[in-house]
């Protein structure tokens, strides 16, 4: 069975979390190495918007500034997210690998599968909902976004542990067209709402990370070896944070490309 790398990261600031994702993606582009699963969380809370979104359309910037919440544009499409009480996963797979279907829609279904499995293991009636969501009942518990760059697939997604609805609607603009489906707060759920207060404990979070890793292992037929970021990934993450995700030129303007790593090792 193939061995993948598992990275369990401590809670990180927004720009750092996004920079590590891009650094690991670059690492797989540079070297022939096995796929990687990274599990992480956010501290302090941060807002990310999709690659194709615009801060002025999606975010109440004044409120974010007042509450010290950074706003970062992702390298992936999809919607705006307030990352607060959640477990986030990123999976990195070479496009030539069997676990990276050529069809983008199919690959969402395949890679959201372990999230569905992990939730079902908790007794929840979870299901994949195309294009990129996982629902319990009719409410969204997990959303994912994918990019493919230089022969490597990166999919990252959230799993909501708790939702601070007041803060979410204070910091994000919720488009009227979306609200037609019902009250916004009823369209998003959380593990706390579904499982009770135990979802907030540190033990639960650690157990959830283990469940997700096991679900990936079973669904994608791989073993995990827990690893850490290489020195080069660490160094590059710091550079990407500084030279990309902390810059208005990236967060507000599509004219700069994500910085790319140096030559192959």
């Amino acid at each position: 069975m193939e061995t993948w790398r598992l990275i369990l990261d401590p809670p990180g600031r927004g720009a750092r979390n996004m920079a590590v994702d891009l650094a690991v993606l670059h690492s797989l582009v540079r070297t022939v190495c096995s796929p990687t699963l990274r599990l992480y969380s956010w501290n302090p809370p941060a807002v990310t918007i999709g690659y194709f979104q615009r801060i002025e359309e999606e975010v109440r910037e004044e409120e974010c500034r007042r509450e010290g919440v950074a706003v970062i544009r992702r390298v992936t499409g999809g919607g705006a997210v307030l990352h607060e009480h959640e477990l986030t996963y990123s999976v990195f797979i070479p496009l030539a690998h069997r676990a990276a279907p050529r069809s983008i829609r199919e690959s969402y279904e395949l890679l959201c599968g372990p999230i569905v499995d992990a939730l079902r293991g908790l007794g929840l009636d979870a299901r994949f909902s195309p294009i990129n969501d996982v629902l319990v009942g009719e409410a969204k518990l997990s959303g994912s976004a994918q990019t493919r760059r230089d022969g490597v697939l990166l999919q990252h997604g959230t799993l909501l542990i708790d939702v601070n609805a007041g803060r979410m609607f204070r910091l994000l603009n919720v488009a009227k067209q979306k609200s037609a489906k019902g009250e916004p707060q009823d369209r998003v759920s959380s593990l706390r709402r579904l499982l009770g207060e135990r979802a907030l404990s540190a033990d639960f979070a650690a157990g959830l990370a283990g469940r997700i890793a096991r679900a990936f292992s079973e669904r994608l037929d791989c073993d995990f070896e827990e690893g850490r970021l290489s020195a080069r990934e660490e160094e590059e993450a710091l550079r990407i944070e500084r030279e990309l995700f902390n810059l208005d030129a990236w967060n507000r303007d599509r004219s700069i490309r994500p910085v790319f790593a140096g030559p192959a090792d």
């Binding site: 194709f52 979104q53 359309e57 499409g77 976004a145 493919r148 979306k178």
Partner: protein
């Protein structure tokens, strides 16, 4: 210069906003935004560029299709028809204002 926007939410697609900077009857700049996916992502710049100038609106879908074909773009949760529709709505709003 005036900016006009239109929001399109087609069934099965994500939310799309097309914003056009209009001046002298010409589209000076276009912005396509929303929570959809375009692969590779930078392809959105080519689609925005295709909306600029004094376009023949009837040919807009064909023009966008040629950009998609030439760039090998893959659109997920958005379509060239919706982008064209958004652009047409933004322009017709502008036309209605300038002719009144």
């Amino acid at each position: 210069m005036t900016t006009r926007s239109a929001v399109v939410k087609a069934p099965g697609e994500k939310l799309l906003r097309v914003s056009l900077d209009l001046g002298g009857g010409v589209v000076r700049a276009a912005r396509i935004s929303g929570d959809f996916f375009i692969h590779p992502e930078e392809g959105v710049l080519l689609l925005e560029k295709a909306l600029c100038g004094a376009p023949e609106w009837d040919e807009l879908v064909l023009r966008l299709q040629s950009v998609v074909d030439a760039g090998g773009l893959e659109l997920v949760g958005v379509s060239i028809e919706s982008i064209a529709r958004g652009a047409l709505e933004a322009v017709s709003e502008y036309d209605a204002e300038t002719s009144s």
